[in-house]
Symmetry: C2
Subunit: 474 residues, 2 copies
């Protein structure tokens, strides 16, 4: 006669695992209500769910211990960094452990001569740059929030500097990843390129904690440019501004940043960030970097293109303080939009199209906003073809539904123009419904096969990134 | 009683499949001896084996037909492009079909405004650039051989321009891939970045035909620079030349190319390419690209660094003809080495290290060459830390063994310096023995799991890229 093994239900399993984890990790494990609440969501508040407990990992070994035990007990695990995700990535599945990496902030090595470094995944990009201060080097990838580098890898983040320096994907040389069963692997290395083996680094970048948990990151660094110049140019007409940005890229100007804020966003940002010298009309923010002659040359081409497209002249930010004030205003766009309509929810969409389609898209989105009756600001990394609509809506189920309806229209436009439903925020749960249209069932089937192969017990952030459906059967 | 099914042996299976394929694809299928011989190897001649037959695919559907039938019959398939691989990638497994994609040369779309295009995988990079001639755009990735773009994707190729434009990996936006069972998927798209779903594009790039067969490639293109300037600088001393290259990169000069040829290679190339004005000593080849002011600035910094490191002055190639002559000499380095010792085999090694380790490595390799008693030239993409040793050896088993012994020493040095055993040639069978040391058993286990998940019948180029061993069990 076979012995009958007792399989406790999901709630019981996670309680048992948390008790085991306390034996191994002691004070690093918490089931405190307010700790659990702080780990119940990212910035997409409506997607909240409490984890059964939180583990504050301090080392790769801690992460390995958590996964080995959760794997054995079929308990789901979601990694948590800074909680800045806007698509519900860090919202725990049911009866799950939230694995907080924010204590893992060590800079493990800096190789200044090779312009690379290795950090723990919980370090934020801002803090990394503070610690690099004496090296003459910096890390350029700058998503809006104060995100951790592990979280940035997991969501394939980018930001305002991607047009010049690339996204996180182009700036990661290798990773340490803990697999579903607790096994630790290293991917990539320190070399600039290699042709040996499958590109595991790229597989984990953008995998949103569903294939493994990233604990260390080897990053490319860049020399602080000899010269930095920032300027803005305002336009009476949205199309003229977008066309200017598009033509700068097409002309091959190696511009460091080129960002757009529309009239609504400018009105919000002038008020929030005290940009009183500016008018509430469409504005391009530029940054030029390089040697002095190269910067001069870039500026000449850019000014000529802006003038041809009816730009209202360049205003320069010459001092570091002025430059910081301008870019801080850009980075605070979300908060400016929030301050514009107190009590409202601000929901950020995130689309990208080939740059030649960008004018069509933004003009269409402006019309959609008009029809929706909602207030919404447009801003974005126009040099990449990537932009966000910040939709301000009543903080209620009806308000969310209205915003989502507008978002769906925007995504539909982007996909019809050979675009993607997310340039940098990721899928999480917020974008699941668009994946089939964007990638097609066969490619999704291959993705599901990879997920099943690497996480057969489906404990790694289940329910995120991949819509339900069939796997590819080779 | 169960019916007994007759499973023919491997030779019988492939014969049966070729007969089926003739029904579907007619004249595209060949079992002609000389055709099979032409598909028995790449440039690593000693690794030859005849395929049972060759199929000349003309469409993605043809490829899908081949894989569906071979999959059903458990018959291995190896893709064949231009046959320029030097690591045995295209050598057929036993009882296999060689799937030749060289007729798939269509340019399917050129989106000049977005600087991208879509091509069939059998098009060569040179031919693509011919067809782009009227667009003001070009594709920069330039491995030594006249490789196909599909082959370049499959081996994660790069070349002399990677220091500025990146490798093939950074220049592919998406792929069409036929999976083991004949299913067709599309990966990526036309956008510059996206955060939606696993990065399948990067997974297939560098997978050497072991996970799927690439039939179409969406490529990034680049504007032809306003100005191009080329120059060479000679050095009495190898270390001085390497140090110059390293310091150029560390200074952040956006140099288009920086290549090194050592004294042995220069002697060969002076003779082969008629560079009679040069001396047979270590030489750096430079190319500068951009706006005129930026180019001037780059040249100033580079010349200053070369002078500090005892460079013997710059010689300029001012006309396009002069420039082509210089770079043609660089691209013909392999043939120059071959001409230096007629009857000998020339075996190209391919290592990469972080750039700060490059001087140590090359000096060490020079000593290894001395000890080996073999003649060998060093040349490489020093801006990436990547270089090749062209070992000239007697064309015999003993000669090959001696060359391999030297290669092993070079790889061991590179791996000890945080390097990789291949910067751009790939693994094939030639580098299999080094993968465990470079990646570690756990990462190889994950790679094997991916292979088993996507190609459970092991029909896609079996025996390449992955050494035998255990898979990761999640």
């Amino acid at each position: 006669m076979q012995s009958i093994s007792f399989v406790p239900h999901a709630a019981g399993r996670v309680t048992a695992v948390l008790a085991q984890l306390k034996d191994y990790l002691g004070e690093k494990v918490s089931t405190n209500q307010s700790v659990c609440e702080a780990h119940s969501h990212g910035e997409a508040l409506e997607l909240a769910r409490l984890p059964a407990g939180v583990v504050f990992a301090e080392t790769t070994e801690d992460v390995s211990t958590v996964l080995a035990l959760c794997h054995a007990a079929y308990v789901p695990v979601v990694a948590f960094g800074a909680g800045t995700s806007v698509e519900g990535h860090v919202t725990p599945p049911e009866h799950a452990v939230s694995l907080d990496l924010s204590r893992m902030t060590a800079v493990l090595q800096v190789n200044a001569a090779d312009m690379d470094c290795r950090v723990q995944a919980g370090l934020t990009r801002q803090e990394l740059n503070v610690r690099l201060r004496d090296t003459g080097l910096f890390f350029p990838v700058d998503p809006g929030g104060e995100a951790t580098l592990g979280g940035m890898c997991a969501t394939r983040a980018s930001g305002t500097a991607a047009v010049h320096y690339g996204t996180i994907k182009e700036n990661v040389l290798g990773l340490t990843v803990v697999m579903a069963n607790g096994e630790v692997i290293k991917t990539g290395g320190r070399v600039r390129k290699s042709s040996t083996g499958y590109d595991l680094t790229s597989l984990f970048i953008g995998s949103e904690g569903t294939l493994g948990i990233i604990t260390e990151v080897q990053l490319r660094l860049h020399g602080i440019p000899e010269q930095l110049s920032a300027a803005i140019c305002q336009f009476e007409n949205l199309e003229d501004a977008v066309r200017t940005a598009v033509e700068i890229i097409q002309a091959g100007v190696p511009i460091a940043r080129v960002e757009l804020m529309d009239d609504v966003q400018m009105a919000a940002s002038i008020r929030y960030s005290g940009l009183d010298e500016l008018r509430p009309i469409t504005t391009l923010f530029f940054e030029f970097a390089g040697g002095p002659a190269s910067v001069r040359e870039q500026i000449e081409v850019t000014e000529a293109l802006a003038t041809e497209n009816n730009g209202l002249g360049f205003a320069w930010a010459d001092t570091p303080d002025e430059r910081n004030r301008l870019w801080k205003a850009r980075h605070n766009a979300f908060w400016a939009a929030k301050a514009l309509s107190p009590g409202a929810r601000v929901i950020s969409t995130d689309c990208i199209v080939p740059i030649s389609r960008l004018t069509d898209l933004i003009v269409g989105v402006k019309a959609d906003i008009q029809v929706s009756g909602l207030q919404a600001a447009i801003l974005g990394h126009v040099g990449d073809g990537n932009f966000h609509t910040l939709i301000m809506t009543e903080d209620s189920a009806a308000g969310h539904a209205k915003a989502l309806e507008l978002d769906r229209k925007i995504v539909a436009r982007a996909l019809a123009l050979d675009g993607s439903c997310s340039g940098e925020h990721g899928v999480g749960v917020g974008k699941l419904e668009f994946l089939e249209q964007e990638h097609g069932e066969p490619a999704l089937g291959v993705m599901r096969t990879l997920k099943m192969a690497l996480d057969p017990r489906n404990i790694l952030n289940p329910g995120k990134l991949l819509p339900e459906g069939l796997a590819y059967i080779g």
